[in-house]
Amino acid sequence: MAQYGFYFDATRCTGCKTCEAACRDYHDLPLELSYRHVYELEGGSWSQAADGTWTTDSYTYYTSFACSHCTNPACTHVCPTGAMHKDDDGIVSVDSHRCIGCGYCELACPYGNPHVDRDKGHSVKCDGCAERVAEGKAPACVEACSMRALSFGPMDSLPSGGVPAAVAPLPDPSVTTPNFLIKACASSQPCGSTSCVVANAAEVK
């Protein structure tokens, strides 16, 4: 079966975070948890020329991401029980009956996706809204995006223009080979860039 994945068009995203809200709503998550995050990255500066005029190269861009359903996932690598696994369609999901809630997946994932829900007794994460997809629908985040900046489906069916996600604040795609394509915008900074800062730390940290 084809590997499924997400696509994000940074040239369209306005940072409205409806995708986050839709994710939280559909999965009935508490306010402090979402399987999708929108990071606001800011950078640049103002400089004054000799004639007293000011110019700026300041910028803002958004990166919306959930689980990258990696080909080489760090979470499945460290999972001691095999509960964290890749489904036939390449979606990384949790077998809640096998999960012991040790939290290693949460520590290891460079995309910050799995989270141990102690009340449920196991890890929870983005499963690409598997039930919706099985009904022929798009994941909640994709459907909610008013700018049509998100897509989901077999990797070879995703919109053109995307490349394996390689923008800040995400890790270099060589680390886990994410099935997550991004169409970068003009302001996008490369992975590992320290020239930008996360402007909405209180929301996402």
Partner: protein, 282 residues
């Protein structure tokens, strides 16, 4: 990122688990060099419950860390692939062998040759267990932990804590040891403190070179050098107490204090270690 205290249960495990296991190195020395008579051996066998209890409390910490402890047996399905499974496998192998040794010893069915063999194997397994405790944190997506120094410091903590606990056990059992025993106790404890301090210290010194979108790793735990210092001081105090106790026929009261002090030092260092958690990107 966090303060490290969110992993308190794991810190209890990585403090007491290797400490309980490491005590068998001192017990091995006590039986091989001390050659205790039958009565003394019996006392020492009874008091072997002490390191086993410490080991059990350590495992309880690991158990409490899980969100679904009742599924815990599932960890063995990841043996070979998951560093956590490997760690628990080695720890459980040690615990099972240690309990078998203890039961046989208490039952009086342990000829000296077999006792010696089992003790040497247990002492070696204690080192391997400590190493695997460190290895479990070497994940390529966590650059602050992904260093062999994570292993080195665990071996140091095991040796420092285990030696003090082992000689404390000897003290409770009132087993006579050869004249050089105090030097052996001091040397093993100091070696553990040195290895632990160097292992953790070099790791801390390398934090400047690591950063993610949030900060430099050196900013994660501002008091990290203090925490390392606390371990070193606790280790030195425990070593001194052990040496003094050894000169007084391994006075158990002093050694109990030494055990508490060294365990506190290791625990503080472990909390610091967990506070150094930093993802490769976020």
């Amino acid at each position: 990122m966090g303060s490290g205290f969110e992993h308190t249960a794991l810190a209890v495990f990585t403090t007491l688990g290797p400490m309980g296991a490491g005590a068998f190195i001192a017990l091995t020395y006590a039986f091989i060099a001390g050659q205790p008579d039958e009565a003394a051996a019996k006392r020492l066998d009874r008091w072997t419950a002490l390191p086993l209890a410490v080991l059990a409390v350590g495992f309880l910490g690991a158990f409490m860390h899980l969100a679904s402890p009742l599924n815990a047996f599932g960890v063995f399905s990841g043996v070979g692939a998951s560093p956590l499974s490997n760690e628990i496998l080695v720890g459980v192998a040690f615990a099972v062998l240690a309990v078998v040794y203890w039961v046989l010893a208490l039952a009086g069915k342990l000829p000296f040759a077999l006792r010696k063999t089992l003790l040497v194997v247990l002492a070696a397994l204690a080192v391997v267990f400590a190493a695997f405790c460190g290895l479990a944190y070497m994940m390529y997506t966590i650059p602050t932990w992904n260093t062999p120094l994570s292993i080195v410091q665990m071996v140091g903590y095991m040796l420092a804590g285990g030696t003090v606990l082992g000689f404390c056990t000897v003290g409770f059992a009132q087993v006579g040891l050869p004249k050089g025993a105090s030097t052996v106790a001091l040397a093993l404890t100091l070696a553990g403190v040195a290895v632990g301090t160097v292992g953790f210290g070099v790791q801390i010194a390398g934090l400047d070179a690591i950063r993610n979108i949030w900060s430099s790793a050196a900013e994660l735990v501002p008091a990290i050098w203090m925490l390392l210092g606390a371990f070193a001081v606790c280790g030195l105090v425990a070593a001194a107490l052990t040496f003094v106790a050894a000169k007084k026929a391994f006075a158990p009261a002093l050694l109990v204090v030494a055990c508490v002090v060294v365990a506190a030092g290791i625990f503080v260092a472990r909390i610091g270690f967990y506070g150094l958690y930093m993802g490769i990107a976020l």
